[in-house]
Amino acid sequence: MKIPSTLIQFLALILLLAGTLEVQAQNIAIYGDTVHTMAKTAEGQWQDPIENGVVLIIDGKISAVGPASAVEVPEGTPEKRCKVVTPGLIDARSVVGLAGWLNIDHDSDHIERSSPMQPELAALDAYNPREPLIDWVRSFGVTTLHTGHAPGQLISGQTFIVKTRGNSVDDAVVQRQSMVAATLGSDALRSGKESPGTRAKQMSMLRQKFIEAKAYQEKVAKAAADEEKDAPARDLRKEAMGQILDGKMPLMINAHSSVDIQNVLRLQKEWQIPVILQGGAECYDFVEPLKAQGIPVILHPTMMRSSGAGKNASMETAAKLIAAGVPVAMGSGYESYVPKTRVVLWEAAIACAYGCEFRDALGLITHSAAALLGIGDRVGSLEVGKDGDVALFDGDPFEYTSHCLGTVIEGEVVSDIAR
């Protein structure tokens, strides 16, 4: 059968166009009346915003940032324009993708209640990249999520880092294992005869787990050094605890009350492990010890409810931690009811209204979040060589009545709803 050459030409043209589009989708020039690069100067100060600036993204990476007059944009590069440009936003502690919007068994994979300590559970195995709440937060500029198992068990499982895109978890993943999520205090107590039923029991159970993991590691090491000795049967749980002991995965502990935060401090001292305090409703009373022990804080959302463990939460905590020099980022946290997720843009906005300087507040969900999560080489600021992740706004991003106009991940427009 002879295929008409015009058809072949036509098909070739389609393929060519498709290929061009594919490449072009990774290239974009984003112009803003104000571009908040959220980069820092050599002195560690926030770089001033660029007026009439442009962010040029080529092949998904930022190739230039500067005043539009000084940046040469290749002809034919797709472009977007808006009033305010910021880096793509980072939610430093989310459960989106595991705790589904419908809040029914079918879409709730954020907490496993069969045992109080299961550090081996990988977030990667539970993440639903087609979860509607991913689209929702993305439409408010969120491009990166540190997400995973929720607070609510002594050790509920691991977290990981994704970009808010992709049809499979492999499309989305940035870091496959990030932290082990633990919870101290009332939110992780069990009822009846199940343990842990008290705070003291929580601490003793954690200590015991570390002791067991250490013994396991020693056995493994001895077996490796001595051919006569058999290695112990592999134990994923002990291996995960060992990763914490080895400093490969920080233990991210959700704790709110004064007692529980003191337990976080004690645990870190005892085991000399990397610890991150998450939540921290009453951490304003422990700024100095947190700083001294090098414990960063992934703070509760500013609008955390003033009830239960959060009854003494303060909307000025972010400002206090920043002023004291404690590394701090903001996460949407975990919500068991409505709203099923919070939007970090709005939470940082309230932090800004309650004592944070504008860029310090924006830093909570960009630069500082990236640094705290250890992904600062890729995201968090608009600098040459970093991922082309950008959020576009029609005004002050923190104002109630401004809109996010679009979201770009690695040069690809992933949301263009004005919301």
Binding site: S307, A313, M315, P339, E399, Y400
Partner: protein
């Protein structure tokens, strides 16, 4: 003594007496008159006044106008609010501050229960509400029943007992509505309904019974012998049937909303739809039924199946259809301190600024049947208002003062009040507060 002297003497005496009267009465009247001077005043029911004066006497608004038009009486307390913005006190049509519950888990219809008997007005949540500029709330029982009980309208006066905060009608009864709910929250294991049809049917049966009770009373024509035995449950439902008690109806899904409208048509009760997640799907039907909507604004859709399709655009869509719209906090679902934010997000999603501010104030008053007393800044109304640092819909605006009936109940410069506004150690303790330096309650 000449006549002239006597006349002069009388005049002098008269003058002295008059002076004495002034001296005696002046301090009293001065204490009762306050002039708030220099603010941008947004009355809601009238045009905005730039640099206005709000004159308050005995807790009521006596005059409102531009600084040059309003003459401040001698002796009035002058409060300089130059550069600030005064808006009517915010009204939350659906609040759970103080955790007042209604019925228990014994059965799905318990209108005889009253949040008045369970609310804790010393809860820290009351002080947070004052810090949010709220002056009036509809204190609601929960949504886990078809009819969970009678609601209580509370003015956020400085008070330590629920009686201190009640709003009374002309006959001296404490005012409130009736809380109803449909959809999944009120569906549970028996004796609660398991389906939507059963829910509607149980409600219908209860109102039919109340109509019969009502008819018996009518037939008795005041004859105590012929009167039915008093039944608190029936009495509450009859009050709803007679329009003395507005029905505040929790409802989310479009078909549940229409079920409420159907019941309203069948029994004729006045109803305010609450939450109304799917309002945007049935806005025309809501408008046609002339039902008011009290909306919740939450930061993401879902959290429960029937709130899956909730939209920030609900306010804008309903406004477009001419429906009377209010917002509510559903505190603790959203924080009373950030109530302005709910309406601001309504503006973000297309609502008019005027409509959004009305939805926090006058519309709410209308939905509680109290628009003749509060909800806007108008002569003769209660002096319920908030003083803001600027634009009500800016995230950077602070609520500086809250006044209920001419008495200050929140002052941001007072460190004890500021603790509730911001949070911090001790802010969550439900201790007896004493907002205005009076005796300890």
């Amino acid at each position: 003594m000449s006549l002239r002297f006597r006349v002069q003497n009388r005049i002098l005496l008269g003058c002295l007496l008059a002076l004495l009267c002034v001296l005696i009465s002046a301090p009293i009247s001065a204490a009762d008159v306050q002039a708030f001077v220099g603010a941008r005043i947004v009355p809601v029911s009238a045009e905005v006044i730039e640099e206005g004066t709000l004159l308050v006497r005995d807790g009521k608004i006596e005059q409102i106008g531009s600084m040059k038009d309003v003459i401040i009486p001698d002796g009035a307390e002058r409060i300089d609010v130059t550069g600030k913005t005064i808006i009517p006190g915010l009204i939350c049509t659906h609040s759970h501050i103080g955790w007042g519950g209604g019925g228990d888990s014994s059965e799905p219809i318990q209108p005889e229960c009253h949040t008045l008997d369970s609310v804790d007005v010393r809860s820290a949540s009351f002080m947070r509400a004052r810090a949010g500029g709220l002056t009036l709330v509809n204190q609601m029982p929960g949504s886990g029943h078809l009819i969970s009980g009678r609601t209580t309208y509370l003015k956020l006066r400085d008070g330590g007992t629920v009686e201190d905060l009640l709003v009374h009608d002309a006959s001296g009864w404490p005012m409130g509505g009736l809380k109803m709910a449909n959809g999944t929250n009120s569906q549970r294991s028996a004796p609660f309904p398991g389906t939507r049809a059963k829910s509607a049917s149980l409600v219908r049966q209860a109102y039919v019974k109340a109509q019969e009770y009502q008819a018996k009373i009518a037939r008795a024509e005041g004859d105590p012998e012929k009167m039915p035995e008093r039944d608190l449950r029936m009495e509450a439902l009859v009050e709803a049937l007679e329009g003395k008690r507005i029905v505040h109806h929790h409802t989310h899904r479009h078909d549940d909303i229409l079920t409420v409208l159907r019941l309203k048509k069948e029994f004729g009760f006045e109803v305010v739809l609450h939450h109304v997640s799917d309002a945007w799907k049935v806005a025309k039907e809501i408008a046609a039924a002339d039902a008011a909507c009290s909306l919740i604004v939450v930061d993401s859709p879902g959290g429960k199946l029937e709130a899956r399709d909730i939209k920030l655009e609900n306010g804008a869509v309903l406004e477009e259809e001419g429906v009377n719209v209010a917002f509510h906090t559903d505190d603790w679902i959203t924080d009373s301190r950030l109530f302005l934010r709910s309406a601001a997000l309504g503006v973000r999603a297309g609502m008019s600024r005027e409509g959004a501010l009305r939805a926090l104030t006058l519309s709410g008053a209308e939905m509680l049947g109290l628009a003749d007393r509060t909800g806007s800044l108008a002569v003769g109304k209660d002096a319920d208002f908030a003083v803001l640092s600027g634009d009500p819909f800016s995230v950077y605006t602070q609520i500086l003062q809250t006044w209920v009936e001419g008495k200050q109940v929140f002052d941001r410069t007072n460190p004890e009040h500021l603790l509730f506004a911001i949070g911090g150690r001790g802010a969550g303790d439900d201790t007896a507060y004493n907002c205005c330096g009076g005796e300890d309650h």
